[in-house]
């Protein structure tokens, strides 16, 4: 009745083909083409003229590229540390048996993630607008300040504001991932610890956290990749300018401005690959740090 040999027809390839075709056309080809462009000077109207490594040399000495990289990192770190810790605490709390209405909390914390980044930026820009923003009106109403504060003119504040938007937007998402990870931890271990009389805190640090390590690593790496590409929030918040003092100009905004408002496609591509290298370095760093800690613990 059943064939004894395994069917080895090639139909399977047919089913996975759509992904690869789409990836080749819309993923790999643009990547390779922009790599080629990064060695040229091109405004989109003439034929690309080869300039060798000139774009990369310019990138290396470009003060603004390094500044945008610094901005991006600063914005990212200030948002990612609270994001990953707050969401972990929330996930652990919401994973407890005694908490009522868990699913409601999970949904509510996830809501900010559904809001489009662009509309969040606009909303916050309105709230913190200088002369008519509701935040200043609120402070003035309470009598805390007499004259409206020019928030949008304060570099550190604006960077912090972008970080806060990112934090608010992504902590729910991280929380859901952590909860998924927590559900993968065997109840047996937790119960055994409980029987041995371990406190909740002890259980968290000795069982939950070590077993969550792969999930944490996943979160860190994806947030590095995502964090290096911050664009929508600062763009809409500052109306595309990256002001004040270029403090909210992120690397991808710089890339966008170079390639699509100044039409320097060659240099724009070089920025993209510069950014790519930075992301790779940070990803490798986080991988090795995690692995080193695991090895140390095993020793």
């Amino acid at each position: 009745m059943f064939s004894k040999t395994l069917q080895k027809d090639n139909y399977g390839y047919l089913f996975i083909a759509p992904f690869f075709i789409i990836f080749l056309v819309f993923g790999l080809y643009p990547i390779l083409y922009s790599f080629y462009l990064s060695f040229t000077d091109w405004d989109g109207f003439t034929t690309p003229a080869s300039v060798g490594l000139e774009n990369y040399l310019r990138l290396f000495g470009d003060f603004f590229f390094w500044k945008t990289l610094f901005n991006t990192l600063a914005i990212w770190i200030v948002s990612v540390i609270p994001q990953l810790t707050v969401s972990l605490v929330l996930a652990v709390v919401l994973h407890e048996k005694f908490v009522k209405g868990k699913s409601i909390f999970r949904a509510v914390f996830f809501f900010p993630n559904i809001v489009t980044a662009a509309s969040l930026g606009l909303l916050v820009a309105l709230i913190f607008s200088w002369q008519a923003g509701s935040f200043n009106q609120f402070l003035m109403g309470l009598g805390i300040i007499n004259d409206p504060v020019h928030w949008t003119d304060k570099p550190y504040f604006m960077r912090g504001l972008v970080s806060s938007i990112l934090f608010w937007q992504y902590f729910g998402y991280s929380m859901i991932i952590y909860i998924a990870g927590l559900q993968g931890i065997s109840r047996d271990l937790l119960e055994a610890a409980e029987i041995d009389g371990a406190s909740k805190v002890r259980v968290f640090f000795s069982i939950t956290l070590p077993l969550l390590k792969p999930i944490i690593l996943f979160q860190v790496v994806t947030s590095i990749i995502g964090g290096m590409q911050i664009f929508d929030q600062p763009y809409t918040l500052t109306n595309g300018s990256g002001q004040p003092d270029n403090a909210t100009l992120t690397s991808v905004m710089y890339l966008y401005d170079t390639a699509f408002t100044r039409y320097q496609y060659g240099y724009g591509s070089a920025i993209a690959f510069g950014l790519f290298i930075v992301i790779v370095i940070f990803s490798i760093l986080s991988f090795t740090m995690m692995n080193m800690r695991t090895k140390n613990e095993q020793n």
């Binding site: 607008s129 002369q131 008519a132 003119d153 004040p244 408002t261």
Partner: protein, 424 residues
């Protein structure tokens, strides 16, 4: 024989069907289609009237919001796929677009746009030409400016609301600064003379002699430096309210009457004042300020690879020279035209209730003749925004001195545009 007959009748039937099908759709096939891209809803009115006049032309009008209009337009021009036959371009991007080698040369036959230009204001004629003097687009809008003012405020603080007399009071920046200081004091800090420093920049910007880039070298015209000094003085003497242009505080101030003067071009009347302060109709006036200036404007350009150049030109001609349409546009939409001849014809009859019955076409006609031609470069839009950012930094104190400001500006321009020579 029967076989042959069957084949014959089949072929006849087929031919008949093709002919009939052809008949039924012939009107649709013959109708030429004109593809237009625009970022402004003003186009709707013009297209509607154009189709009434030319029922044989089918217009496909695509509206794209201003935020990413230029990026989309430049992309299709780069790849030359789906390029519209005619496209609208806003003045801030026009110097960049008109240099693109995909725009039809309108100076040559059969267009001979030079004849149309003769009917327009001198400053518009200059803008319509590229760096080689070839006409690349037609402006349909006249955009000379004036100082819009609240009559109740000038009555209270200057003792008059007559445009001529108000113009005397604001004929120089010094006078405006003095008024600003006095008004601020008399109103207990409620009323400012101007809304923000860009008001000074808008007026002075039309008077520059040298564009940002000359022979691939960065040039800072003394007029621009003077704007910085004026802005600094205005900020220190609290003559300006520091409301961001187009921001909520700015628009609210028109209704509230907390700013006396708004230097704005023609289109400010319907698009800024009437729309933001509808309840103050009749309380506004229009006076000449320290200098003649213009602001904004829209140009129509044609794709040089278009297959419908004849009807594309028909539309462009209609929008810039058709007397019946233009008179209609000016009267019903309060639209000040680029066509000086028609504006002059209408100057006597057109008044604005919003401006307390003032003959505003007459006013702008006078202003339009005075507007100097400010030279432009494809870099203007980018460099202007860098300059504005640095001026803001200087006014807000982040950059301590004007020298620091200019240095920071030069560094940024040199960095973004390596091909421009910048002396440090």
């Amino acid at each position: 024989m029967t076989k042959k007959y069957a084949l014959f009748s089949f072929l006849t039937l087929l031919t008949l069907m093709v002919i009939l099908a052809g008949c039924s759709s012939s009107s649709a096939e013959e109708k030429k289609q004109l593809r237009i891209w625009t970022f402004t809803d003003e186009a709707n009115y013009a297209v509607e009237k154009f189709q009434e006049r030319h029922p044989e032309i089918d217009v496909d009008l695509l509206f794209i919001t201003n935020d990413n209009y230029v990026q989309k337009l430049i992309s299709v021009l780069q790849v030359e796929k789906n390029v519209p036959d005619v496209f609208f371009v806003e003045r801030s991007y026009w110097p960049q677009i008109r240099q693109i080698p995909r725009l039809e040369n309108l100076s040559q036959a059969p267009y001979n746009a030079g004849e149309i230009l003769e009917q327009q204001y001198p400053y518009i004629q200059e803008e319509e030409k590229d760096e080689d003097g070839v006409v690349r687009g037609l402006g349909y809008q006249g955009t000379p400016g004036g100082f819009f003012y609240r009559r109740d405020l000038t009555q209270e603080y200057l003792g008059t609301d007559d445009p001529e007399e108000v113009a005397q009071h604001i004929s120089s920046w010094d006078k405006i600064m003095d008024i600003g200081e006095r008004v601020l004091e008399e109103s207990d800090g409620q009323v400012h003379a101007l809304s923000n420093w860009n008001d000074i920049g808008t007026v002075e910007g039309s008077s520059i002699d040298e564009p940002w880039v000359v022979d691939e070298k960065l040039v800072i015209d003394p007029v621009r430096e003077n704007v910085v000094d004026l802005a600094k003085e205005a900020r220190e003497r609290r003559v300006i309210a520091d409301y961001d242009s187009w921001g909520p505080a700015w628009t609210a101030s028109m209704q509230q009457g907390t700013v006396m003067f708004y230097p704005q071009p023609t289109w400010g009347l319907p698009h800024i004042f009437e729309s933001n302060a509808p309840d103050t109709s009749g309380e506004w006036g229009l006076a000449h300020g320290p200098k003649a200036f213009s602001g904004g404007g829209t140009f129509l350009a044609m794709y040089n690879g278009s297959e419908n150049k004849d009807i594309a030109w028909e539309f462009m001609k209609f929008y810039t020279t058709d007397r019946d349409f233009l008179k209609d546009l000016a009267e019903s939409e309060q639209y000040f035209l680029s066509n000086q001849e028609i504006n002059i014809e209408l100057a006597d009859e057109l008044t604005s209730d919003f401006l307390g019955g003032q003959k505003y076409f007459e006013f702008f006609n006078e202003a339009g003749e005075e507007v100097p031609s400010a030279p432009q470069t494809p870099y203007d839009n980018d460099i202007n925004s860098i300059w504005d950012e640095k001026v803001n930094d200087y006014l807000n104190g982040r950059l301590q001195t004007k020298e620091d400001m200019i240095q920071a500006f030069k560094t940024e321009v040199g960095n973004y545009f390596p091909e421009i020579e910048v002396d440090e």
